[in-house]
């Protein structure tokens, strides 16, 4: 089985679906001839033709709106927004249109589109290339939100997203696009070939939407994470000496409540980790969900480790980033509580 990084795995997913289904097409800024600024669509225009993988004007609202129109016709467009930080001009089309088309037309019209976009920090992108805006979308009724953390999941989840009949926002953690990330920015990392989840089959397979993965079993404390932070959570648990159970949510909406609840009922403790800002972050939803379902099982208050409530600062990227130091402290607090 070939070893792929996340970019190659996403490219493979698009290649598989462009080959399999003539209704699939992909477009966005610099996506066509150049193959995307992160190379996710590299070679696809050459292989599948100009009308199946093409460049668009710089107009995110236009990109999503035309994808909705194509979806209404019966196509399955996969659009790329170059950075999640640039998605806001498309917000109205996503929130008011794509997410509600099915509901407002009583199923008469649907838009099965996928919006792929790289998110998150760790590449010195400053405040306009580092944001994690997932909570702005999970709050929207009618929109699925997916975030992979490994090459294997990235491919399987993207294929599921393309085959799904609802609009899907597919957030790609750009910190782990190329190389892996073992939680610490200042330590050497093991290459993808040493990560089991970089064994990516070449053909078609799916990872189901709405299903979390227990990526490390443990009995002391449950850690909920997604995207890049899954790797921070794993490193933190390893270095804390605790027997932590790490859950990679993979899909935020619909959320796999069962997996979360089963774990917290077992451990009685919960730490939530995300890179996005704290206030009204997705951690608040997770915390409420755990409290609603596991109140009588909790041995200590639920901990949240998140980005600070400031824009992402260029010079202090790693002080902003909720790294293992802060996660380990939270794990200890959860154990003491």
């Amino acid at each position: 089985m070939p070893t792929m990084n996340m970019i190659q795995a996403l490219n493979s997913a698009l290649d598989v679906m462009l080959t399999k289904d003539p209704n699939v097409l992909t477009f966005g800024e610099d996506v066509g001839y150049f193959g995307g600024v992160f190379r996710v669509t590299d070679g696809l225009q050459k292989k599948h033709g100009l009308t199946r993988c093409f460049d668009t004007p710089i107009g995110e609202g236009g990109i999503v709106a035309t994808a909705i129109g194509m979806g209404a016709y019966g196509l399955r467009p996969v659009v790329e927004i170059q950075f999640a930080d640039y998605i806001y001009p498309a917000y109205d089309q996503i929130v008011s249109e794509a997410a509600r088309l099915r509901y407002r037309s009583a199923g008469d019209f649907t838009a099965p589109l996928v919006i792929r976009t790289p998110y998150g920090g760790g590449i010195f992108g400053g405040q306009t290339h580092s944001q994690s805006p997932e909570a702005l979308f999970t709050h929207v009724a009618g929109l699925k939100t997916v975030i992979p953390s490994t090459p294997y999941d990235a491919k399987g989840l993207l294929i599921s997203a393309i085959e799904d009949d609802d609009p899907v926002l597919f957030l790609e953690p750009k910190r782990i696009y190329n190389g892996p990330f073992d939680g610490y920015h200042d330590r050497p990392v093991s290459p993808w070939s040493k990560h089991k989840a970089s064994d990516v089959p070449e053909g078609h397979y799916t990872v189901p939407l709405g299903k979390a993965a227990v990526v490390r079993e443990g009995s002391d404390v449950t850690v909920l994470a997604y995207g890049t932070m899954v790797h921070v959570a794993l490193a933190s648990v390893a270095d804390s000496g605790l027997d932590g159970e790490v859950i990679d949510l993979r899909t935020l909406v619909p959320l796999d409540i069962e997996t979360i609840v089963n774990s917290v009922k077992k451990t009685g403790r919960c730490v939530i980790v995300h890179e996005a800002t704290h206030t009204s972050g997705f951690g608040a939803e997770l915390s409420a969900t755990v409290q609603e379902n596991c109140f009588h099982n909790l041995e200590s208050p639920i901990e949240r480790v998140t980005g600070w409530d400031t824009p992402y600062p260029h010079a202090f990227e790693w002080q902003y980033f909720p790294g293992p130091g802060r996660v380990i402290e939270a794990l200890k607090r959860a154990m003491e509580g």
Binding site: E29, Y33, I58, F124, G126, T128, W308, P313
Partner: protein, 410 residues
Amino acid sequence: MKNRARLSLRVPAPPTRPGDVPDFSGVKLSGAGEVERPDIDASPRDMSDLAFKLIRVLDDKGQALGAWNPKLDPETLRRALRHMLLTRAYDDRMYRAQRQGKTSFYMKCTGEEAVAIAAAYAMDRDDMCFPSYRQQGLLIARGYPLVQMMNQVYSNARDPLKGRQLPIMYSSKEHGFFTISGNLGTQFPQAVGWAMASAYKGDDRIAASWVGDGTTAEGDFHHACNFASVYRAPVILNVVNNQWAISSFAGIAGGNESTFASRGIGYGLPALRVDGNDFLAVYAVTQWAAERARSNLGATLIEHYTYRAEGHSTSDDPSRYRPSDDAKAWPLGDPIERLKVHLIAIGEWNEEQQQAAHAEAVEQVKVANKEAEAVGTLGHGELPSIKTMFEDVFKEMPEHLRRQRQQMGV
């Protein structure tokens, strides 16, 4: 299906790709001095043909021709030439600094120096600029210290923006330079609002903004044109058509269907199209638009026809999507070279002076860079105080941010 012709989807493509010989045969140029200059109170409708011509003053021999010749004195031209040389030397040094790992990112304006420098010369020092990321020449021409720009690029302890912004996203109210956003086109309608405020207050200042050809596809471009027209805002709206939006040629932004200047016609704005590599022409059209705005006659849309001679940024490699010698074949040449040739042609400059001016610019940059590097470069040396990370989110720091700062232990 009925017996009709099948539809097909058109996706535009540029005439050349890597490995091809550069081909600019599709570029239609007006002759220098050929395009008429309307009165500043001309009706936009009566001058709509200017959106499809190209205002040029300098011919191939360096002669300044026609009604648009601003007839600037030689001393002003020499100063402008030095500012363009300084901008290019600064860009070269900062590009190298990024390659040396001293910062994360950089963007040059090579080949587009005249666009910003000529505008700075034609506008008043008090007029307000809402730039995109490729108008560093405005700051340089307005005397913003080079070392300050470098401190920002290095995110060091003396970075006026406290290490918060990506390199080149400068800000200086004192120099009439609005804080640069990484999001495209947002500044265009903001400039209109600033100009509306100036009119509302009965002030005499005007605003100007710049976007690229690619950004005309954003909604904000259209909001700007519409509001500027409706409220007759005293603003100059500049589209810098440098032919490329990262890897996408201008045809992807709609540049093959009509000129970018012509977008103004539908909004009832005067629309000028100018040779962006001709300092005199850029100066002249900016001056025309500024005078019109200051006469309470409203906004002008200007398309600067130029060429992005280098990559979009240090993260880009243009040889992957266009012929590597494309910039050299650009029919409108290089703005520095053209102003130099003009000054020599009128007997006000020579090659030795040019070389000396170039060496002087390089030295000035070297001295400033030494000073900036002595303070620190990204992640090395003296950094801004980490405490400042939590400041300026709000005017007064709310309790939750104070708590977060404590949690961080600073």
